[in-house]
Symmetry: C2
Subunit: 153 residues, 2 copies
DNA sequence: TATTGTTATACTCTATAACTATA
DNA sequence: TATAGTTATAGAGTATAACAATA
């Protein structure tokens, strides 16, 4: 374990920003931002759910989901329906408009991933995949259990 | 090349956000944001340079550098000095305050990277490093030469 | 004419705090 | 008391457009 990746933070951010930048550039015609697509992706993948559930998946505060869904609902990408059992809660549902566009966007994303990963072998891709999951997992654990150099409340 | 990483965008963003989030959490006492540290990192690494040069390194618009350096200068992290040859331009220089804190922050970053990469072998780290560089490179090339599915001006 | 950097303005995303309605 | 969601407000980051000063 002597190999420390220099500027890991910059590398990760650059790759992420460029990928999302390309995505946003290509999907500009649809009128959804990257953050909104990210929410929509979870919604299409997991099905209708409450805003609290969405906030957990997106790892943001509920108020942020409130803001995102506000605009998306206005533009007809989703609806907020009453929860059948809990009158406080609302179920967020993707509209037909979203479901129609989804396959096109998914194909676009697939093409973008191919482009991004061009020149990397299957084995390298597997390692990359595993490494990214591991990093997130490690940092998640670090958040749950702060190190001694930090000051837990 | 049959292995396509599912949700590559989400994986990259999650890893990046968590890493920068941890970084910001640990450096909160210094009063610089993640974006400001990113700028400072380039400045310390490459030495004094114009705002245009910084904008190119950070891959943002000059106006964004203007905003960042405004606040950083007010807080005493850098100075904007006159360019000796070009009176339009200004050279951005890190102050002693920044240079003093730098080693501490660098050590903190190294520790954070160790934490993030924990459980990954040297070989896996090398592959990760190469893969991240390759992704950025691929997407950079894509920006320079848009695909047929896009509409170049 | 082109470049460096700014001001004015605006947008998105995100968050804290205080609140309503409901559980 | 706790939870789902909101309003009010604010901040960071980024951007376009118009402009100034200089090359």
């Amino acid at each position: 374990m002597t190999y420390r990746i220099d500027r890991l933070g910059t590398l990760l951010q650059d790759a992420s920003r460029r990928l999302w930048g390309r995505f946003e550039h290509r999907t500009a015609d649809y009128g959804l931002s990257a953050a909104q697509w990210r929410l929509m992706g979870h919604l299409l993948r997991e099905g209708p759910m409450t805003q609290i559930a969405l906030a957990a998946l997106l790892d943001v505060e509920p108020i942020s989901v409130s803001r995102l869904t506000d605009r998306m609902e206005q533009q007809g990408w989703l609806r907020r329906e009453a929860h059948p059992e809990d009158r406080r809660a609302r179920i967020v549902v993707a509209t037909a408009k979203a479901c129609e566009v989804a396959p096109t966007v998914r194909a676009l994303v697939d093409g973008l991933y191919d482009q991004a990963l061009s020149g990397l072998s299957d084995e390298e891709r597997r390692v990359l995949h595993r490494a990214l999951l591991k990093i997130t997992e490690n940092l998640q654990a670090a958040e749950a259990q702060p190190s001694s150099s930090e000051t837990p409340k």
